[in-house]
Symmetry: C4
Subunit: 233 residues, 4 copies
């Protein structure tokens, strides 16, 4: 148990942020935290209410999706997490929610356009919506294929997982990731915020315009560029 | 009093969930819990604010709508509950709310299409909206007929009450049910969530598409099928 | 001070409900409670934040709008309250808010159609939106004329103030009233709820239909008719 | 430290109001408080979460944007604040948020029309949306130019900064100001409220009408005119 204490605790704390940030109803979400040296991650057990969670209840799973330690069954989305950890080689956390506005965009099968600097503060691209999966993929190893659908969507648009830490899975809901589980949850909250504002923007102005490139770049660079001056450096 | 203690307590606790989940304003909702062996149910007294409720105040009513025990008048919707308990032979709880988004769908007289996996996690069908009642039914035994309107709507669509635990009564509001009162309330919260996301989805994309059958089936089966792998089994 | 203690306390408690029910931002609302025998009412002092209110700070005003007792200036809407108390001879409380959805309907200059039973539970009529006031009325005794605009709007539609305890003042915001200040605030919350659901209903279905008369009447009668069976009688 | 204690405390308290009023997610906002005699202002440090703020952590900056005192890096928007303090000669506080509805209007590049008295209680003009900045301004001293873009937008419309204490920066988000930091935050909350109600108004009625001039003037004058009778004078 000692061995994975750190990622258990990180996964537990990150999972508990979901209801606090208003991103989940009941158990409709899960967060994991990875130990990349050990090639394992701690993930929420399936269907357990947030107020009954503890660090000890987190399940330890390897990057192929095998349970390594834990008495409970891991999240039903575990294989999606495993595939992403295996292919996104520097990430340390993944979050999945059915947050209201981001999920509505996923259900509409549309990318979220960059309509403002709140979006550009986090990425220079539209938030991609991965295409719905083929019947074959759905009937096959569904959660495993969901991971590959995410990877393919980024590849198609030629965006790296480090440039884009959030995605909508068409007809389903968002997945986000980051260096840590905490950052993955942060990205889920940011995505929900961007999704809500984009929805209202289009309601106010049907033909709202995508941000000009110079402004997108400026906002991204001042937060993330080599000469960034946001935060305490 | 001892005899019905269990269902009184279950009904009380389930009723108290409604304001906590943001599903009711003032007293606009009610939940009941049934004892199927005794053929009775405990239901919220009419018009009593949630903060003045107690298990003792729940009213015991039989499946024909006769009050068996209790000093207070039962919910004005009691006959609807009675009819449903009589005809839906395995349910143990019923919830009725005027939650905002589900009620707006009921007011629009539209079924809620399956737009995403959040919906498919719970049912493979669109959430039906029962047709408005005829003037004759309204002027007759209204609440009793409301129960039959719900039963007819499911029959017409050839859906069993076990496959579909939620319905919109056209022009009125949602009713949900389940094995227990707690599950009925859970279904009310899920329905409100689905209703809100479907509304936003259509606002984002006017011609949003219904989910493909393979995906609907996959999500339903992984939670409720014979080889389900959601939750702790 | 003793003399008006009861209405001071009633007005204070009713005013404090406004922020709890999410009906006001800062000081954008006011409630009054009348003593019809004394022909006076207690009303919120103007511009005082809710967390600094007390029963003692309520201002006592007569039905002609003269301050009878109190060190603070009464609400700037005081004359509207005075006119309504003078002409609506059985009411004991009035509430005015700028609650979000009701105000948006007022700003759109539209009556709120009866789209569902939540509405019909409270009134059989569409919620009227009083026409914007003439320049002459605005430049004259504005708040006084606002009261008459409300009275005229009901007269034009041939609805009594006892049948309709809520109104939208065009371009402005809602006013509600009732037998008590508590009931007036209750009506403000119900109106906001109805306004929000009507907005969503029209978004879901552009050509949503008004409720059929039989259903409107049924729901109103079961709550307020001579054979009503809602509540504890 | 003693010297700037007053503005540190004012800036700290005003910043802490932003999350309480629901105007910020994470660190997406900042407030400053000026000492006009000393020609300096205290501003939130960049990227520090609200629950880790204290008066001591506020950074003291002069009206040219030079840090005068403080160990932390000031908000990345500091130069915008500096420019506004330099040119708006009587203001004592500035607030910047990415609040949801106001930001959506900024993203839609539209002024917010005066649709009701809630708006007219605060200003007689539409809330201006400053045009998106040129690529040259963006690539130059961006935050500095943002301040000038605000100043230009008011100049173009011939509105003084004392008549209009709020503005939308196109594609970005709102800035507000006032005699004090507390008033600037108050204006941010009012703007968000106005923005939300204007959005709903247009959804209810596509061709909603701007308020008539007489009513705009009346509401503004009764709160802010020389014979105003709102508040305690």
């Amino acid at each position: 148990m000692k061995k994975y204490e750190y990622i258990r605790q990180a996964a537990y704390e990150a999972n508990m942020q979901l209801p606090k940030l208003g991103l989940v109803l009941f158990t409709f979400g899960n967060v994991s935290a990875a130990d990349r040296n050990e090639k394992v991650f701690a993930i929420k057990p399936s269907g357990v209410p947030y107020d009954q969670l503890s660090a000890e209840k987190m399940v330890i799973v390897d990057f192929d999706g095998n349970t390594i330690e834990g008495d409970l069954r891991p999240s039903s989305d575990t294989l999606t997490h495993a595939v992403l950890y295996k292919h996104f080689e520097t990430i340390g956390g993944i979050a999945h929610t059915h947050s209201c506005y981001a999920t509505a965009w996923a259900q509409s099968l549309r990318d979220i356009p960059v309509y403002g600097t709140t979006h550009a503060d986090h990425t220079t691209y539209d938030i991609p919506c991965a295409a719905p999966m083929s019947d074959e993929m759905i009937k096959g190893n569904y959660e495993y294929e969901t991971g590959f659908q995410i990877i393919s969507a980024l590849k198609e648009k030629n965006i790296s997982y480090e440039e884009m830490e959030m995605i909508l899975v068409g007809n389903h809901a968002p997945f986000t990731w980051g260096k840590t589980a905490e950052k993955a949850v942060y990205n889920s909250a940011v995505l929900e915020n961007i999704a809500q504002m984009a929805f209202i923007t289009e309601s106010i102005k049907a033909d709202a315009l995508r941000l000009k490139d110079a402004l997108i770049k400026k906002h991204y660079e001042r937060k993330h560029g080599k000469d960034s001056y946001y935060g305490q450096g």
